[in-house]
């Protein structure tokens, strides 16, 4: 019976590989490689996967440090069926890597052998008992900081293996429902090669990096067509050195076709055209009222539900009641995502020291995200355009991942939840 299916399965494999979903894992210092892989995916008709369950292949962009081992291994274990992996540290390696992925996915027999060799249940699943089914304990309850209902909280780490997410950033959030209650920032460093990529960052691809961040925000906000335009602008704005893809680059929308296929590097005239296109895209985003309304923040329940900010009087609620924290956090993010997005699309914005800006943003992040729901948090993190590859060694030490997976990871950040917020409550 199986023999007669072989031709059918081979045809299926050929059709399947034409729409492969690739999970991109960006390591600090691998931005150029990721941008190149994204462009190659578009050319081949492949797409970026949203989760390991959706992925056929995983591509690690940049050279990961040793702290990445556990994360990459577990992602590889979580990928279900025909799977392939590759790692790319420079744009020039991209075509070869994708060819390798395609060949490995097409090899039906090897994939079936790999599938047969995998154990059906992960090794570290104990049978556990009622209080710890399958070796995992149950979510603990916590008084909510906004409406006082004691509900379970979930510890959900965001990143590093997450689409549209800054490279290497790990945000250990504690979610009550889908609102962030506490957050702690860690950064997984890339390997030693980080030093020279920082020079690239400063030299010329600043506009491209900001357009890429804008594209991420737009993708997370669901405006896929505008995001695709931003990605095109990013590829056009790439300095020549980072754009050495195989000559067979696919045609792009008419406006930029001449730009992309021209062999000249990022000449002045070409850069000027990119600025013009970016300004036009910025205008389009600014004018879109639906996007503005969607990105705006809703008011917290207890303030009067008028949309204006002026009516949010002081919170006279009981001390330690953290509604004002949630309210303040929400008001701060109200127009932040949109203003940041417009800032990213502004062609002549200057960003002199991305490292210092990123460090300041990372330090302010946990406090800023308290009381904000997880989707807004992801939009905000993408809009901040955090350049983890520009962080110095001392910065990375400050955000080194903590090994002790203790109960409440952020003891060091000033006591447990309440104390943490008391110190913070509004004077």
């Amino acid at each position: 019976m199986a023999v007669s299916l072989r031709p059918l399965q081979r045809v299926l494999a050929r059709w399947a590989v034409r729409g492969t979903a690739v999970l991109l894992v960006e390591v600090p210092g691998g931005w150029a490689a990721r941008a190149a892989v994204e462009r190659a995916l578009v050319e081949r008709g492949w797409r970026a996967a949203s989760s390991p369950a959706d992925a056929d292949a995983v591509v690690v962009c940049g050279t990961p440090g040793e702290s990445w081992g556990e994360v990459l291994e577990r992602t590889w274990e979580q990928m279900p069926g025909p799977r392939a992996r590759a790692s790319v540290s420079a744009p020039s390696e991209v075509p070869g890597a994708l060819e390798g992925l395609a060949a490995s996915l097409l090899d039906d027999d090897a994939q079936r052998a790999d599938a047969a060799s995998r154990d059906l249940v992960p090794a570290d699943v104990e049978n556990g008992d009622d209080m710890h089914p399958a070796g995992l304990d149950l979510a603990g309850g916590e008084d909510d900081l906004r409406d006082g209902l004691e509900m379970d909280v979930l510890r959900v780490p965001l990143g590093p293996v997450l689409p549209d997410w800054p490279a290497g950033l790990v945000l250990r959030t504690v979610l009550s429902g889908d609102v962030v209650v506490r957050a702690r920032v860690e950064v997984l460093a890339g390997a030693a090669a980080r030093r020279d990529s920082a020079d690239d960052a400063r030299r010329g691809d600043d506009v491209a990096r900001r357009l890429d961040a804008a594209a991420q925000v737009l993708r997370l906000a669901g405006a896929d067509d505008v995001a695709a335009r931003a990605v095109h602008l990013r590829d056009a704005a790439l300095p020549a050195g980072l754009r050495s893809l195989s000559p067979r680059s696919a045609p792009s929308p008419s406006g930029l076709r001449s730009l992309l296929t021209s062999s000249r590097g990022a000449g002045a005239e070409e850069a000027h055209e990119v600025r013009g296109e970016a300004a036009r895209l910025r205008g389009r985003v600014e004018r879109s009222r639906v996007l503005a309304w969607a990105l705006r923040e809703a008011d917290v329940a207890t303030s009067s539900p008028t949309s204006g900010a002026e009516s949010d009087a002081a919170q006279a609620s009981a001390p330690g009641d953290l509604r004002d924290v949630g309210l303040d956090a929400r008001r701060r993010t109200r127009d932040d995502v949109r203003t940041l997005l417009l800032g990213l699309l502004d062609p002549d914005a200057r960003d002199d020291d991305p490292g210092r800006r990123t460090r300041a943003a990372l330090e302010a992040l946990p406090e800023r995200l308290v009381g904000v729901d997880v989707v807004t948090a992801r939009l905000l993190v993408a809009a901040l355009d955090l350049r983890t590859d520009a962080l110095g060694d001392d910065d990375l030490a400050a955000f080194a991942p903590r090994d002790d997976e203790d109960e409440d990871g952020d003891e060091a950040d000033g006591g447990d939840a309440h104390a943490h917020h008391h110190g913070h409550a509004h004077g």
Binding site: D114, L136, L138, M151, P157, L158, S176, S304
Partner: protein
Amino acid sequence: MTGAEATSGWAGLLAVLVLGGVGVTGAFAVHRLTAVAPRGLTAWPWLSGWHPSEHALSRYHARWYPVTVVFLAFDVEMLFMYPWVLVVADVGLSAVVEMFVFLGVLLLGVLWAHREGAFSWQ
């Protein structure tokens, strides 16, 4: 329409249910033949590459619970709305007035709930 020939409407729906079931089991059967491995894999849930520290199934804090109360109350309105649809043309204006008084009262409740902030996340 004599009883015999007019197979009732509900037989059609029952046939759809049966066809749906057959379709789904058929899809699973085809998949067992075409997938790289017939038996499914069990994996840890995906948390950006980290091991989950607790079960996701928990007392999830749905922050929109006041809306459910308003929704259930307003939904009773639908109970009376559907039969009203059939008789509006025959009963005339009094039916319209009666139903829209009912709706107006409920809309009053909705606007009050909105002022109370029931429609934003607690």
